[in-house]
């Protein structure tokens, strides 16, 4: 289970996150939405332990994977990138690349990919390993309709295999409706609404 109590984060006198209470049950899929600067990334980074809250308590599983908004393409091929820290999962990597229609690019240098291709590669890199909590920061921001559909399919398959909790941020209502069952709207760092989709 994921739980936040009285969590606050302030940057230079500006409160970017102020969550009195938030509870996400194990296995739930939650979409965070809201305008730029509403606190979506801050919330995800706090859950990923990349950022410390200034106050409050955060309870989250240790086994967390986080896909940043601007993922990095490491040197080497696309396949090398997927296999970073997971050398023994070559078969799974190839299957995932196939699912996200990246097979043809497997031997290409990862740093030559387009923004959308890089986003799909970054998702492959995350989905190759199991976790209890999956955090995705705008995973379809650079993707077209087909790419978004592929990501939804890959996510659904991953969730069925791992039964993990998923928290993702997005500006796309259609993607949120497909990938999550609960929608949290953030505004100026506060939860404006929270309900099922």
């Amino acid at each position: 289970m994921v739980e936040l109590r009285s969590v606050k984060k302030v940057y230079k006198d500006r409160t970017v996150l102020d969550v009195p209470q938030l509870r996400i049950q194990h296995g739930e899929s939650v979409a965070l939405t809201g305008a730029n600067g509403s606190g979506k990334t801050t919330l995800l980074r706090i859950l990923a332990r990349l950022l410390r809250a200034d106050s409050g308590t955060v309870t989250a599983p240790q086994d967390v994977l986080y896909l940043p908004q601007h993922p990095y393409a490491f040197r080497g091929t696309v396949l090398d990138n997927v296999l970073i820290g997971a050398k023994d999962r070559r078969e799974q990597a190839l299957a995932l690349l196939e699912t996200l229609e990246l097979s043809a690019l497997a031997a290409k240098p990862a740093q030559s990919l387009s923004g959308g291709e890089l986003q799909k590669l970054a998702l492959c890199r995350v989905l190759i390993r199991p976790c209890a909590l999956l955090l995705l920061d705008e995973p379809t921001a650079a993707l077209d309709t087909n790419g978004t559909r592929l990501v939804c399919d890959a996510l659904a398959r991953y969730k069925a295999q791992t039964d993990c909790t998923v928290v993702l941020s997005t500006h796309a209502p259609q993607f949120a409706a497909k990938a999550a069952e609960r929608l949290i709207v953030l505004c100026d760092g506060r939860i404006e609404s929270d309900g099922s989709i």
């Binding site: 990923a48 410390r52 086994d63 994977l65 986080y66 993922p71 990095y72 490491f74 040197r75 970054a122």
Partner: protein, 228 residues
Amino acid sequence: MDSIKQAFDLLFSLDKELFQILGVTLRMSFFSTSISCLVGLPLGTLIGTRQFRGKSFLKKLIHTCMGLPPVVAGLLVYMLFTHYGPFGRLNLLFTVTAMVIAQCVLIIPLVTGLTASFVESESRPIIETARGLGLSDARIILLCLSEGRASLLSVVLNAFGRSIAEVGAVSIVGGNIQWKTRVMTTAIMLETNKGKFSFALALGIVLLILAFIVNAAASWIVKERADG
């Protein structure tokens, strides 16, 4: 022009003493740069990637040490290794080993500080992506070093430049002993003191050629690896 001609004459005459001095210079610079990079690159990456209490103070301390005057570093090492010093029994004073130790005192803060600055400014997406994948700290450090190797080459070359051009510390702990601890910079200083300015300048040109060859070779190796 005379000095340039003299520099090439010196090189092509295969002067035994010159090549012995060049050998000591290269040996000293190689070891002091290598040891400093082995310590400073991972340490700088660790400081750059981690958030911890006292980090700001530590960085200020490192930046202060980056400006440590070479004669002070030489004096510190001299006091440690002099006959009555804590490591006097090792009999290292006036050896190339002592010169390497003195240079490491100077260069480790330089490599650490420059690496930490580079990692903090350039490696954020690498760190965030790697942490998001749950990779270990050791793995993240290796990734940062590997991904930033072209930029980190300038750190290594900076370290080498400081080592090969340094005179204060090596003359104090090395003693500028002929056939033993004389390096290019101390030889230049000696010739200048003797009033042989033209010869000193020729030695300086040889030193520059040497530094250029090492820089070019290092850049070529990194480019080849990046392209390969």
